[in-house]
């Protein structure tokens, strides 16, 4: 257990990314730095198009940085000279969900370990059913196709599929964005429970400050493009987190500290959007 906890320290050092497909250089990420401890639940809050996903894609190994570097447990994951390489140590759960619709829930979940030949099919199935059961009784849905599940169940299955690989970092890219308030709140409960069961480093990207404060140990507020870390905030709320914390003095005090900053960036992003459209 201790060993697991001591894996997954993420170090983002002056990360920068310039997109230049048509000669018009767009600076998505600039001088973006953060030190994330192993097992820490980190939320990154920022307006749409601030470069949150760019950062996440670099960590996941989908895209290259144009400056700076990102290290996982001291090993360089991303830098201008590093060939981007996705791997099972850092699996993403996407905003719109990316379960393979042609595979059953069980086939989806065992895909990683069987593909990597970490586990045989039977062992992978046993492990998958166990994890699905622990993560809210999802084992009964094993033989169903993702399309037959609610979006909340799909998202949880997707988290289990990521966790099956024993990743060092779990990357969540606005996974609850499209959900209504009630489902979202239920998903927060599930995610907190899952994180308590499997204490991995979590990088949770969102534009929702309340969500970030409720879930995370540390919240970073990102500036609008070019994305940088604007503020870092330690959330010293006890775990397990409960709903009454949302109206507690400590929570409201934390929110007070950053809400103006988040709003300022959102306003800037909005005005730029207006200008670009005008």
């Amino acid at each position: 257990m201790n060993d697991v906890l001591h894996q997954g320290a993420l170090s983002i050092r002056q990360a920068g990314k310039i997109y230049d497909p048509a000669g018009a250089a767009v600076v998505a990420l600039e001088d973006c730095s953060a030190e994330i401890r192993a097992g820490e639940f980190v939320a990154i809050v920022g307006p749409s198009g601030c470069g949150k996903s760019t950062l996440l894609n670099a960590i996941a190994g989908f895209d290259r940085l144009t400056s700076g570097e990102i290290l996982l447990d001291g090993v360089t994951l991303a830098s201008p000279g590093t060939e981007p390489r996705p791997g099972p140590q850092r699996v993403v759960v996407f905003q719109h969900g990316a379960l393979f619709p042609w595979m059953t829930v069980l086939e989806n979940v065992i895909y990683g370990p069987t593909r990597q030949r970490v586990l045989g099919a039977d062992a992978a199935r046993a492990k998958a059913l166990d994890m699905l059961r622990r993560c809210g009784g999802l084992d009964t849905a094993g033989q169903r196709y993702p399309g037959q599940l609610s979006s909340g169940m799909q998202r949880r299955v997707e988290i289990v599929r990521a966790l099956m690989n024993e990743p060092k970092v779990l990357l969540l890219d606005e996974p609850f964005r499209a959900m209504d308030t009630v489902s979202k709140s239920a998903m927060h409960r599930h995610l907190l429970d899952i994180h308590a069961l499997y204490p991995k480093t979590v990088l949770f990207i969102t534009h929702d400050l309340e969500e970030a404060l409720f879930l995370a140990d540390t919240v970073y507020v990102m500036t609008t493009r070019p994305g940088r870390m604007k503020t870092m905030l330690r959330v010293n709320l006890a775990r397990p987190r409960t709903l009454d914390m949302l109206v507690s003095h400590e929570y409201l005090e934390l929110k007070r500290q950053v809400v103006a900053g988040v709003h300022e960036e959102a306003q800037k992003a909005f005005e730029r959007g207006e200008r670009e459209l005008a």
């Binding site: 996941a60 190994g61 989908f62 996705p86 791997g87 099972p88 850092r90 699996v91 993403v92 996407f94 719109h96 990316a98 393979f100 619709p101 042609w102 595979m103 895909y111 990683g112 593909r115 990597q116 196709y145 993702p146 399309g147 037959q148 599929r161 690989n165």
Partner: protein
């Protein structure tokens, strides 16, 4: 909430007819069955009362009688079915065997796409029937030229659909497959192919319908037998009941092949309930 309201509205609309309840209870599309009966009845009446233009058109009863009396037990009639079906199957299957891989290549290889796409886009608008003269000149037998034209009918449709299907594969699926440890060959088999199956479905469903269109026309022009030939011979020999028998047979044949294709596709994509 919205769903519940929509559900109520639908029920309210259907309640007066009572067909929906009947359909639910019996599992039969009674509304559709009634429409078929009404169509046949209307046709019979128009012929009986010699409505404008219907003087030379045989009625459904007359055609059915002729069918039972002569054609149902006639070997040459069923040989027409067999001949047309064989052409459709040959042309259609060939189109899939060549078209699906080509569509996959075009969708995945950018250079090949640049090379071949303009040619395809120029050939695609040419109706299959316009290929008839050239086809007859090119192929040694009429049989081969009809199969070739049928092939053309389904080929471009499947190529374009598969090509589009490849290009709409979700980037997230490809990324995740790599994260989870899949190599290129595995990604092709377990991600690309199943992602494209819905597009293949569309291509096949459209293709099989076009194939029947084409084979009938080609048979009328160049065939020695088949349902298209049967229909045309009915016309030239002034036995108009045969025209009707031919047409209805083509309708059934087309329906049967479409049903077969959709059953097959359903088996291939069980996740799309």
């Amino acid at each position: 909430m919205a769903d519940a309201t929509a559900g109520q509205t639908v029920t309210a609309c259907n309640a007066p007819g009572g067909f929906s309840r009947l359909a639910r209870l019996t599992g039969v599309n009674w509304r559709g069955a009634l429409a078929v009966v009404a169509f046949v009845l209307g046709w019979e009446l128009l012929v009986r009362f010699k409505a404008l233009g219907f003087a030379a058109v045989p009625g459904p009863l007359e055609s059915l009688t002729a069918f039972w009396a002569t054609y149902a037990s006639k070997a040459s009639y069923w040989e027409s079915w067999f001949a047309s079906f064989r052409r459709v199957v040959a042309g259609f299957v060939l189109a899939q065997l060549l078209g699906i891989p080509l569509g996959l290549f075009l969708g995945t290889r950018e250079r090949l796409r640049e090379l071949m796409f303009p040619v395809l886009e120029l050939m695609r608008p040419i109706p299959p029937i316009a290929w008839v003269p050239l086809s007859i000149l090119f192929w040694p037998t009429h049989e081969l030229s009809i199969i070739f034209i049928t092939f053309i009918g389904a080929f471009f449709i499947i190529v374009i659909n598969v090509h589009d299907g490849v290009r709409t594969i979700k980037q997230e699926h490809l990324w995740l497959a790599r994260s989870l440890g899949a190599g290129e060959a595995m990604i092709f088999r377990r991600i690309v192919l199943p992602s494209v199956l819905p597009a293949i479905s569309v291509g096949m469903t459209l293709g099989i319908a076009v194939t029947w269109n084409v084979v009938i026309a080609a048979e009328m022009i160049a065939g020695d037998n088949g349902l298209g030939r049967l229909t045309w011979e009915g016309y030239v020999s002034h036995t108009s009941t045969v025209v009707i028998i031919g047409m209805v047979s083509i309708g059934f044949a087309g329906y049967l092949s479409s049903a077969l294709v959709s059953w097959l596709l359903h088996k291939l994509t069980p996740w799309r309930a």
